[in-house]
Symmetry: C2
Subunit: 352 residues, 2 copies
Amino acid sequence: MKPRLTIRDIAREAGVSTATVSRVMNSPESVAPDTRCAVQTVIDRHGYLSHGIAMSLASSRSMSIGLVIPTIINSIYASSTQAIQGIAQAAGYTVLLGVSEFSPELEEKIIRQLLERRVDGLILTGGERKRAIYDMIEANGVPYVVTWKLLPGNAGPPSVSFDNHRGGLVAMEHLIALGHRKIGLICGRSALNDRARERRRAYEESIISCGLEVEARLIHEADFELDSGRDAMRELLGLPERPTAVFCANDVQAIGALHECEEHGLRVPADISLVGFDDLPIAKYVRPQLTTIRVPAQRMGELAATRIIEALRTGGPAASAELPIELVVRDSTAAVSTRNPRGRLIRMVQSP
Amino acid sequence: MKPRLTIRDIAREAGVSTATVSRVMNSPESVAPDTRCAVQTVIDRHGYLSHGIAMSLASSRSMSIGLVIPTIINSIYASSTQAIQGIAQAAGYTVLLGVSEFSPELEEKIIRQLLERRVDGLILTGGERKRAIYDMIEANGVPYVVTWKLLPGNAGPPSVSFDNHRGGLVAMEHLIALGHRKIGLICGRSALNDRARERRRAYEESIISCGLEVEARLIHEADFELDSGRDAMRELLGLPERPTAVFCANDVQAIGALHECEEHGLRVPADISLVGFDDLPIAKYVRPQLTTIRVPAQRMGELAATRIIEALRTGGPAASAELPIELVVRDSTAAVSTRNPRGRLIRMVQSP
DNA sequence: CTGAAAGCGCTAACAC
DNA sequence: GTGTTAGCGCTTTCAG
């Protein structure tokens, strides 16, 4: 393999100094048109590519942004990732992708690695990690932002997110307004996932503020998979007294749950109501169409990236932002019904 | 912001040379236990992170792999991406992500950028791009591999993929064996997407080898979206003589199409058969469950990453590999039926 | 507007 | 085993 061209080769051939070549590439306007043109010609002729690594070392800017997500398989994270990538790309930044698989240890390792790679900024998922990790990031002077989890106050880490807790409340209010009292919960693993935990907390608070008790057997935590949602729903339906509604804290599990209801011969929403969370594109393509909480994944990704890039420009920390969520009422929720002695359904309340 | 620690600070404090510190970090076994321990203590005390950029420049290895995909929203690409990321991560490589949005120009820009960032290897999606781009990659001595598109022969670019064309043939054979002759096609934009083009070619060849003619109005190209699949199906169903089966060259469009059939009051597969392509997890969660071609997205990602890393070790080009596809027969396909003069359906053949 | 020169922080021979 | 030293390829003052 022939040794690659360096800026010096270009400089020599164009009869200028390396500084001038550098200028032509980075601030062409500061070079006399003639010189610029001559240099550019040589560059083009050889298809010279600048050495980004050397450039980064000399300028101490890597022009890269680290992104850490728990998984990319759940398409809701794919949305925000794509948005972040798009904004970063457009601003000349490359995204270094890390996938933590919901493991705090792996996440720490990834963050360390990203910091060693000298990313200019960092976008994290969720707000829960050891204080030492935040310290490490800050000690390295790298601006960062937390997504998918709203961190209130101006003191802590900056966050660009919607409010998971509020989303949970809105979903539960909807069910409660429809008359449901026996409500199940299917959500992600709250021990590893503060988004899931917030949604669960909203569920529990809502139950309690109805004067009811939180029942452990109505709550199922599981992985973000269709099958997990289905399995959890199967458990719920096997209960002596099954819930009349289930809050599925993400659409993937909701869709799995929906199909399990069908398998059991239950009609949704006549026999049981389901509300999801995320509003994936598929949510309105299942039958019945899924009532869900719409989260601004794309918008959040765009804004997070924008805020990081801004921070890079100003030299300060990234600014926080809260994005709105929205209840999207479709066809998977209805007023509670109850079975009469013959086992046939009687609609109790009507307020779709 | 206090100036970050360098290897020299560590060396000074530990009373050794920078070379020794470097050794402790990169090949600890070559350092005397006592020294190693002393140095490590200083490193830990300060939470010193090595400067990956400087390291890369000095060692001329960036320990990064560039990945270019057209989109991350379609979860089939998310699968392979996650797999690649996992393998790379485990081997100490970071993935630099580029999303081309099906634009050749953007893709070229991204590849150039990745090359400038001095990725050690490159994983591309699809095999179609200007010869000059391949030349540029090769001129830079960067091993690469094409995924999602099988490139036959040993001469051209190495590829790790399944055979899209064969997948298309298998799907069509299935429909034809069920007696279908009037078959529609919904696929991605073949002008921008050689995977879609191969699948379309398989469709056309299959039609022709049945002694039939390829009808333009039976073919719809559109974006990878649920809505696009639905819209395309609407067109097909609006035809004076509508197809008895449709080959949807990806599951996302297939699911959109499936729901459009339902909207029209058509029963799948009694009135119309649908076969998809990809076997997304959701494919068996739609009703009827989708008959589709299973592609080894995850396996392909893993293998592509593995082959690149191998190439990095050996110094040669990456080795090609072909992965198998598989027809998964579920409930969206059945033997053809036809309308009698009254417009009512009569089942012709029976072989579910 | 352009050039000279001093690094950026680390690795990798090569000595000792 | 460990230290010395010369770069890796570029940017960036600072002169001119």
